[in-house]
Amino acid sequence: MPSTPALRCEQLVKKYGDLAAVDGLDLEVDGGECFGLLGPNGAGKTTTVEILEGLNEPTAGRVEVLGMRWDRDERALRQRLGVSLQETHLPDKLTVEENLRMFRSFYLQGRPIEEVLELVGLSDKRASWTERLSGGQKQRLAVACALVSDPELLFLDEPTTGLDPQSRRQLWDVVLGFKSRGRTVLLTTHYMDEAERLCDRVAIVDKGKVIALGTPRELIASLGAQQVVEFVTERPLAPDGWGGLPSVRSARRSADGIALTVEQLHVALPAILARAEPLGLTHLSTHQASLEDVFVHLTGRHLRE
């Protein structure tokens, strides 16, 4: 039996006047995987996700969700999806439990409300009005509303933006738990650590296009280097020439100095130091290459700036 992908879109385009928010985007998400859309502000992530959710009309392109199409199968599809939008203001003066009960009532089947409350860690807040929840608790309630239907496919648009590290980790556990039941997740994020931790595969989106696709490990490996060395000297420097040093794969200008991607730190570092010290080295640091470096490598810009 040929398995249909959970999500597929081809040559997706969405234009707002002259602006192409989505500009020929292809995507294929398999059942049971957690797929991440990673990209800077305005990349077109939300627009893409809302088209896939059937909440926005594409200007051009084909969309298939769970093997079905929005124009024909909307009713059936809605029963099987869970959605958490980038921003939704749930009614202020309904309690957590009342909100969940209302969302649960729209679905033919789903999970018991107590179970979902437990899952997102809001059991002790069940009787609180939404307006009295903290930002992180509100976000977890939004995810809970997407989970009450026990969906096959879950869309999360920036589920952890603005959360403290502890709340983020709590939400990650919710997503991983959901995935471990064989369900599919499409999430968007600005955080590479989140993408590296949660996603089986990641598409890096910029200006409405997918500019890189693969597992986080593959994408980082595509840099051909495991480490990044960043340094600042007293006299301003140009990146030219640094790429030729032993074990250095690429060189570029960073915030206030130079950033080099490096294969083997112990080989490259002595050469870098020997050349930088006479120029008045004031700062040097190294870190493991991340998806952020992949993005910078591809676009010359940072994800969040």
């Binding site: 959710e53 059937g54 909440l55 926005n56 009713r75 809605r78 029963q79 999806l81 959605v83 939008l85 921003e87 939704t88 203001h89 749930l90 009614p91 003066k93 309904l94 009342e98 009960r101 209302m102 969302f103 649960r104 009532s105 729209f106 679905y107 033919l108 089947q109 789903g110 999970r111 018991p112 409300i113 179970e115 009005w129 509303c145 239907s149």
Partner: protein, 345 residues
């Protein structure tokens, strides 16, 4: 306990009921909304009831220029004569301190302003007092019976006004607020039936009616002795169709508005003319004949006329068929248009 499948499937809940419940909860948890719906009409009825209460007749102030005239007029308790010099007396008339000046004759002269009803009344009273034999025998029937006082006119108007503003604010404003907060978008991302969503507002308004009407009418009965002459069932029916008409208008103003300022403007645009011209506080008959046809097709005019016909005159269904038909058509047309135009995102 005896539900082994409970882990898989929660008890089925009706989405219409859940949506309606949410609307009711959100209303009653908003003290402001509760006040404007239930408290405000009561305060208004008290304030206006006091301002326009039926007072015992005040004696009419009259200026006279001789002590003899003063004595003759004092014989009538409805007149309060004051002895003044002629120029002072004319001044008092001009500034409205007295309604009439009587100059000693012969012949006796009345100075009065025929454009002022009080002034004409004063003249007639003075004339009757000075020429008692010429006065025809009369019987007075002062109007203080329930059914014909201002408060009897006012209460159905307040009920109509309340049905209008509750529909416009309680539906129009709330729906737009849900749109700006992206809650509508979130709801249409679920399999929620859009028809049931809109129905929940209609059900809410109907349930509310069962609270609004007894509160206002019970209060008016207890405090002012306002009676319902016609059938209570028919009164409820007229109120219901009125509430539906304004639910439809509320939905229509909310159909496309993208922010609450826009919808607030639209609501005021719809409501203010009807506040003034649909006979809430005074009869529409005060407006010139030329605009009467326009006033009659305003939904609030039809509602107020219908409510008054049932409450005051005890009209039956046939007596208010025109008003019911107009409200029915308004309901159907506005719901239809609102559904066609409605923007869910």
């Amino acid at each position: 306990m005896n539900a082994p499948t409970a882990g898989l499937k929660s008890a089925p809940i009706s989405p219409l009921w859940e949506l309606t419940l949410a609307r009711l909860r959100l209303f009653f948890r908003e003290p402001g909304a509760v006040f404007w719906t239930f408290g405000f009409p009561l305060l208004l009825s008290v304030a206006l009831g006091i301002a326009f209460r039926n007072r015992p007749a005040e004696p009419v102030p009259v200026a006279v220029v001789s002590a003899e005239l003063e004595r003759s007029l004092e014989a009538d308790p409805q007149l309060r004569p004051r002895l003044l010099g002629e120029s002072e007396a004319r001044e008092a008339l001009r500034t409205g301190k007295v309604d009439l000046v009587v100059l000693a004759g012969p012949p006796i002269a009345y100075l009065y302003d025929p454009a002022r009803a009080e002034s004409r009344l004063a003249r007639a009273l003075a004339d009757a007092a000075l020429h008692p034999r010429g006065a025809p025998a009369t019987i007075d029937r002062p109007i203080t019976e329930p059914g014909s006082r201002y408060i009897d006119f006012l209460i159905p108007g307040l009920l109509g006004m309340n049905l209008m503003s509750a529909g416009m604010w309680g539906i129009g404003y709330i729906v737009v607020e849900m749109r700006t907060k992206k809650l509508l978008k979130r709801l249409v991302a679920t399999p929620m039936s859009r028809a049931q969503f809109l129905w929940s507002f209609v059900v809410m308004r109907a349930l509310f009616l069962l609270l609004e009407m007894p509160v206002l009418l019970g209060f008016a009965r207890l405090v002012f002795g306002v009676r319902i002459v016609g059938s209570i069932a028919l009164l409820l029916g007229v109120s219901l169709i009125g509430a539906l008409a304004f639910a439809g208008i509320g939905l229509l103003v909310a159909a496309r508005a993208q922010n609450t300022q826009t919808v607030t403007g639209l609501i005021n645009l719809v409501m203010l003319p009807m506040f003034v011209a649909s006979g809430v506080f005074f009869s529409t008959a005060r407006f010139p004949d030329a605009v009467q046809p326009f006033l009659r097709v305003l939904p609030l005019t039809a509602l107020n006329d219908g409510l008054r016909a049932v409450m005051i005159d005890g009209a039956g269904v046939t007596g208010i068929a025109g008003q019911i038909a107009l409200l029915g058509v308004t309901t159907a047309a506005t719901f239809f248009a609102a559904l066609r135009l409605f923007r869910w995102r």
